[in-house]
Symmetry: C2
């Protein structure tokens, strides 16, 4: 019974030092034994981190596509009257402006997060970086989803109009504008889904810690 107690306490001490120092015990194991379960777990976590890095690049591509597609959309119709000049641009509608800003912030965050993701690959037991990425990823899920949903609500209105409020569909005239905007919304939703996967991956990596 006494031996169980002492080994139990040793275990706790080492687990504690593992979570506080991170790298130090790992090198110790490499010096003494080959392929301990701790090392295997490290390899598995490294796999998760590499997948995390790839997903981050995919999300960056999606968010950048959404930003640039929406930001460069500008259609002027080839006819005009005395009172109207038929031109549609993303900054005519506040929801689209928010969309561009939110996706630009998400893109910027993704670029900044890449070095942290590399740290997680190099040091699979770095917990702080993972928790930080998880928190910001969760906020970005909210950001990109909000941008996509707000733009989607407006695009839906532009496509179909609404008879109850006398808001008329504008996509009969601005077909090219509506197509590009719809594409940007889809790209933003893809970015949001990738962010959700990133959160789940980080949580899984933290669980295995």
């Amino acid at each position: 019974m006494d031996s169980t107690k002492s080994s139990g306490e040793t275990a706790i001490n080492i687990t504690e030092s593992k979570s506080s120092k991170g790298k130090a015990p790992a090198t110790n194991y490499i010096a003494t034994t080959k392929a301990t379960p701790y090392q295997q777990q490290g390899g598995w976590k490294r796999g998760i981190s590499i997948f995390d890095f790839i997903l981050r690049i995919c999300a960056l591509v999606a968010a950048l596509t959404a930003t640039t597609t929406m930001g460069t959309t500008d259609q002027t119709l080839p006819f005009f009257t005395q009172f109207f000049q038929f031109q549609a641009s993303y900054d005519d509608l506040p929801a689209f402006t928010f969309f561009v800003v939110a996706n630009a912030i998400a893109s910027g965050y993704l670029v900044l997060s890449l070095p942290f993701s590399i740290v997680c690959i190099v040091r699979p037991h770095a917990v702080g970086a993972k928790l930080l990425l998880l928190i910001f990823d969760t906020v970005m899920v909210g950001f990109t989803t909000a941008a996509a949903a707000a733009a989607a609500a407006i695009v839906y209105l532009a496509h179909n109009g609404n008879s109850n409020t006398n808001w008329f569909a504008i996509c009969q005239q601005f077909t090219d504008f509506c197509q590009r905007v719809s594409g940007a919304v889809v790209a933003s939703f893809i970015a949001a889904v990738i962010f959700i996967f990133l959160v789940v991956l980080s949580a899984e990596a933290l669980r295995r810690h």
Copy 2:
């Protein structure tokens, strides 16, 4: 050197069994010693779980408020013409219908998640339940934010209109309708923020595992 190796390997075995079985080693520690670091961690995790439970109830209140406020909003103006009967209801606009459905789903999920949250309080080292809650909470961050953002885009339009697309503000007529809908949007955003906190709390609890 040999003793370091053996204690290291014992530590790994115990850490492994801890993550795979969960409860079994904890009772062992209680039988032999009082207030080990493992137990202290258990108490700390229980505190997180109780806070998680309270936050879940707050989110449930917010989501239910959002659902019922939006779902019961129905305003008929006291005057009418031959062609129009001035009535505004949430199902006139698809974004508001989505809002009600998404917040109802979030409320239902929160009710179903309460037993899992209680399991986390009773068993602070139950990892599976925490990971499950974290994954669904992340999805719900997306759901509630999307609902709130889509409704907010439409409410903004109803308040201010848009001269570029000839969509007129309807809130001059439907003041009561617009006020209630704005309140529902705020409640949904509060629910989304609470969900973000829940994800971060679960991640922190998983990290301490």
